[in-house]
Amino acid sequence: MARVLVYCELLQGEPAPVSLEALTLARELGEVSAVVLDPEGERAAPALGRYGAGTVHLGADAAYRDYLGQPAAAALGALVQELDPDLVLLGATYDARDLAARVSARLQLTLLANATGVVPSGPGFAASSTIFGATQAVLTELRGRSPLVLLRPKSVSASPAGEVEARVLPLSLPPDAPRGPRRLESVVAAAAGPQLEEAKVVVSGGRGLQEASNFELVERLARLLHGAVGASRAVVDAGWTPYARQVGQTGKTVKPDLYIACGISGAMQHTVGMKGAKHIVAINRDPDAPIFKLADLGVVGDALKVVPELIAELERRGVSA
């Protein structure tokens, strides 16, 4: 049976959703062990067991919290060399992307980013991904030992395996591990409303809002619907709103029940991140905008006019934030 090592992370003290997604996928591929590099990692072990990890390799050194990338790369590199797994799966987070890149360079291992799935193929594995705005599905054979795969969030729906108690094995920090950039401070943005990736409703704004100050309309509508705010690359690049809100290829993948695109034309760069939404509403002036090809309900009109009208209509119906 193939042996799969899954790198898991904590997000505000809980296992990151994408880590549970990766474990769920790994269960279909072989025998699963997890690795966690976090001083608070022990808290996650029971949940990782429930999602299928028979063993949790736990590195609890404070260096993983205090320094970026390099201590974790040294520890994960050493573990991969020792276990020689058939596959290393990582949920694609900011940290995991750096970590996978470092381990790949350190041990000369194949790395595939942006995977949406992994399947057995011959003696090894192949990873699926999409290109050109998720219009084409690509299957890539992974060569060499212990290939690394970064799984895009929301590619798999996480489900527990049952009450499995994971065996926790301590993992020590290699003594020669470089420390790397020091994390001086972590600032948690006062996030009103749900997280973008987990929200049931996402309201996104694009160039059609014409100027930065109008982006506030999107924020108001999102608040009213208890949703999260997203954005197209164009307005993030223009500095209207932070990168953390960018939906798309260069950015986040969301799969809400409802996605409302306000003044977004629907470039492939953007649609790859949102076309998995259950329902899509688009408001755009250009009747030929590609976003309308995806929309369940499209409104041809100026978002600057339609969004305030919708907010007023909802308020008239007694909807409040």
């Binding site: 997000l11 505000q12 970026l68 990338g69 390099q70 900011y94 992307r97 750096d98 890149a101 470092r102 790949s104 360079a105 350190r106 194949t110 790395l111 980013a113 998720a134 219009t135 084409q136 599905a137 690509v138 299957l139 890539t140 992974l142 970064l150 470089p178 790397g180 020091r182 001086l184 972590s186 600032v187 948690v188 943005a189 996030a191 997280q195 619907l225 993030v236 690049d237 223009a238 500095g239 990168y243 953390a244 260069t250 029940d257 409802l258 492939m268 760069q269 076309k275 509403v281 995806l294 929309a295 369940d296 309900l297 409104v299 009109g301 339609v306 919708l310 209509e313 119906r317 909807v319």
Partner: protein
């Protein structure tokens, strides 16, 4: 401080991408541009160099046509360019690309390497951190703010829940997110001056790279199939007359979201 910046010439992202028979991106006969993300990297590099009386070297790997991306960086104010071009590089994966670029960075003598978080065409986002590992440098990634003072590099790093303040000593790799700055437009004078700025062109042998470790030969992955994804079908399209807001609100009610 000498600052290197990574630039890449890519097919215009607003056009429809195509693959050739070997599943490689078609780069011939299509409009090509400097990767829009790279403009932020070039701007960030210029600001660091300007504040430290240093200079910027723009580094790229690709066919000779990638010179255009370097020229764009030169017209914005970079002092020189370095292009690694070699037919044996065709088909290189992210790790092989990092091997080549790491050598180029070493050769440039730069103490700081800046890149964007990911290219718009390949979007693996793993090359800069892999270069850092190969050079033994720290990597400060996903910077939404960058400060360099003396040899100290400090960034605000994007995180899932906010940002971290992260610091390291140069030499280091930094990746910048879109929106970190407002890239300058090349001036006419800048465009003229770019023509006479030095651009070094190197092959694998010049950098002492084993051809077996790059290109098709060194790739750890092989595309086995490419198939179209079934498209979503579009639904109801209405005009924004007075009734649009009501129809939208009704739709939200149908979905039980209000």
């Amino acid at each position: 401080m000498k600052v290197a910046v990574l630039v890449k010439q890519i097919p215009d992202p607003s056009g429809a991408g195509r693959l050739d028979g070997s599943h490689r991106l078609v780069r011939e006969g299509v409009e090509v541009v400097l990767d829009p993300g790279d403009a932020y990297g070039v701007e960030a590099a210029l600001r660091v160099a300007e504040a430290s009386s240093g200079e910027v070297v723009a580094i790229s790997m690709g066919p000779e046509r990638a010179l255009e991306a370097i020229r764009k960086a030169l017209s914005m104010g970079a002092g020189s360019g370095l292009l690694v071009t070699d037919p044996r590089l065709l088909g290189s994966d992210a790790l092989a690309t990092a091997r080549v670029l790491a050598r180029a960075v070493e050769r440039s003598g730069a103490e700081l390497l800046i890149g964007c978080t990911e290219s718009t065409d390949g979007y693996t986002g793993t090359v800069p951190a892999a270069i850092a590992e190969l050079l033994g440098w720290p990597a400060l990634t996903f910077a939404k703010q960058l400060e360099v003072e003396g040899g100290r590099v400090r960034i605000q790093r994007q995180t899932a829940s906010g940002h971290d303040l992260v610091e390291a000593e140069a030499p280091a790799v930094v990746t910048v997110t879109g929106g970190i700055n407002e890239p300058r437009y090349p001036t006419l004078k800048g465009i003229m001056a770019a023509r006479s700025k030095p651009v070094e062109q190197l092959g694998l042998d010049d950098l002492g790279i084993d051809p077996a470790s790059v290109g098709e030969a060194g790739a750890g992955q092989l595309v086995s199939s490419v198939e179209p994804v079934p498209e979503r079908s579009s639904g109801e399209l209405i005009e924004a007359d007075g009734a649009a807001a009501r129809r939208l609100a009704d739709y939200l009610a149908e979905l039980k979201l209000v």
